[in-house]
């Protein structure tokens, strides 16, 4: 490994944008990843992430075929993610449907719509393919502004409503008895999760986004006694994985998204192994 990454970082704006995207997205990733991990709803994040392809495909179709030139795939992704979050929220909170069936339907139908729109739209859908597996090197200054605004919103919500979010996540029934609007907070957090997914899709892509949301938080959970500790550590780990993944992939000419996830998965695995060895040694010494 060399210093080429650092030399190019000074020279090329696209690399500076990528680094800034990694820095900013790790805040949203760590905070919302901790929430979805403790709530055990990573499958909801998976359904939202995959159905986003439908929105992207529709936006691109409307842009190319119907002449809505102001629409970009990112707009479609935002609309699809928020719509999916609303449907999932309504089903999980109010309906007596089988939640896993509805999630599978949203997951698969969203992707199928995406594929159909890509098929019906003339030309090669290169930009949509980059969203499937992500390309942090293609992040634009406008995207950075969007990520920064979302970071501010998520951090504000987490700081102002931390105690309520903790109670709603740990024991929603008790929170309701204390007069907390549990459904409202659940919806807000689901929408923020959807927006975070749209950000992370630009970093690691639709297919890998669940891993980037859950792996740093899962690793952080091994070292945290409180939710806020898990959130802070998860932000630091996300940042470390994204920057290290970017550096390794750039120097080795590998895809950045996949490199980031392999690093996160490897460190998670090592953490589990070390924790279990320590536990085993402790148990052995007490026998």
């Amino acid at each position: 490994m060399g210093i080429q990454f650092f030399l190019d970082l000074v020279r090329f704006p696209f690399l500076q944008h990528a680094l800034a995207a990694g820095l900013l997205s790790s805040i949203a990733c760590g905070l919302m990843g901790s929430y979805i991990t403790v709530k055990r709803i990573t499958y909801i994040a998976g359904a939202i992430a995959h159905c986003v392809l439908g929105g992207m495909g529709a936006a691109r179709y409307l842009n190319v075929v119907a002449g809505f030139s102001f629409l970009s795939p990112l707009h479609g992704a935002l609309a699809a993610a928020i719509l999916a979050a609303f449907i999932i929220g309504a089903v999980t909170l109010f309906s007596r449907q089988r939640v896993d069936t509805v999630l599978s339907a949203i997951w698969a139908v969203g992707m199928a719509l995406g594929v159909l729109f890509i098929y019906m739209t003339p030309g090669y859908a290169e930009d949509l393919m980059s969203y499937l597996f992500g390309n942090i090197l293609m992040v634009k200054p406008d995207d950075l502004f969007f990520i920064a605004v979302l970071d501010m919103v998520i951090m504000s919500v987490m700081i102002i409503f931390y105690n309520k979010i903790l109670a709603v996540s740990f024991d929603p029934e008790y929170a309701r008895i204390r007069g907390i609007a549990v459904h409202f907070y659940s919806f807000v957090l689901l929408i923020l999760t959807a927006l975070t997914i749209v950000i992370l899709i630009q970093v690691v892509g639709i297919v890998l986004v669940i891993a980037l949301l859950s792996l740093p938080a899962a690793t952080a959970s091994y070292f945290s006694k409180q939710l806020w500790q898990m959130m802070v550590l998860s932000v630091i780990l996300s940042l470390f994985y994204i920057i290290l993944g970017l550096y390794v992939s750039y120097d080795s000419n590998l895809p950045a998204g996949a490199t980031i996830i392999v690093l996160a998965g490897f460190i998670y695995l090592v953490t589990i192994i070390i924790k279990n060895i320590i536990k085993y040694k402790k148990r052995k010494s007490t026998v």
Partner: protein
């Protein structure tokens, strides 16, 4: 006469076109200890949730201090059934107890008064030395004490305990009943329990639930009345030592 705190008037609750509770008429008074007994699926927890305002009656009315349930959150300290908690959730004992101080207008950090109340509640349940421990690492009995502290911290009028001794060993069960008896001197206590040996000893009145609710004074509860509720033969064993408990069935 003691002040009426809770009144259920001709209350029906129907779920999936089936009566869970039918024509319930009961009143609960300040500083009394009422236990709710009945077989599984008889409507005990539904009765508790109706009082808490978590469920709405299909017919009839419920008032808590003259208001609709759910309007007065400060009235109740609720201890739910133990089994609901995620053992991997990253939260410590002090934070769980502080949840009892939550109000709809709580923003940002808890104030020092809330923190002092939480410390006092932990002291009442004899768990102050464990305040920084992870909730996940506590034993079943310790967890129940933490949840009781959480219920106490808001200085409630009524303490509702939903099977607080489920999933704990005999010694812990005995300790919890001692604590509940101590608390019943200060608070109105509503206890849901299956422990027919202990309930008549510690309660002022017993609500026997099996779609209807029949109130008994503790002296009125006999093997015959329990048999009517449980629809099977049941021995009522009053015992001093829990190790001598005779399981009914």
């Amino acid at each position: 006469m003691a002040k009426e705190i809770i009144r259920l008037n001709q209350v029906d609750f129907i779920y999936d076109n089936e009566f869970v509770l039918e024509n319930v008429n009961i009143s609960l008074y300040r500083k009394e200890m009422v236990s709710i007994i009945g077989p599984n699926g008889s409507g005990k927890t539904t009765l508790l949730k109706l009082i808490l305002g978590l469920l709405k009656p299909t017919k009839g009315s419920i008032t808590v201090l003259g208001q609709l349930p759910g309007k007065e959150q400060q009235v109740f300290g609720y201890v739910p059934q133990y089994a609901q908690y995620d053992s991997l959730f990253p939260v410590n004992v002090f934070d769980v107890v502080l949840m009892g101080c939550l109000k709809p207008r709580t923003f940002g950090m808890f104030n020092s008064r809330d923190k002092n109340s939480a410390l006092y509640a932990l002291d009442v349940v004899h768990l102050l030395p464990l305040k920084n421990r992870s909730f996940a690492t506590l034993s079943g009995g310790q967890r129940q004490r933490v949840l009781i502290a959480r219920a106490l911290v808001s200085k409630p009028e009524v303490l509702l305990l939903d099977e607080p001794t489920a999933n704990v060993d005999r010694k812990t069960e005995q300790d919890l009943y001692v604590l509940i008896q101590e608390l019943s001197k200060i608070y109105t206590v509503i206890l849901v329990s299956h422990d027919l040996g202990v309930v008549p000893k510690i309660s002022d009145r017993i609500a026997c639930v099996n779609r209807n609710v029949i109130m008994h004074l503790k002296s009125e509860l006999t093997g015959q009345s329990i048999q009517e509720i449980y629809s099977c033969s049941m021995d009522l064993v009053h015992h001093v030592n829990h190790s001598q408990r005779k399981e009914g069935g």
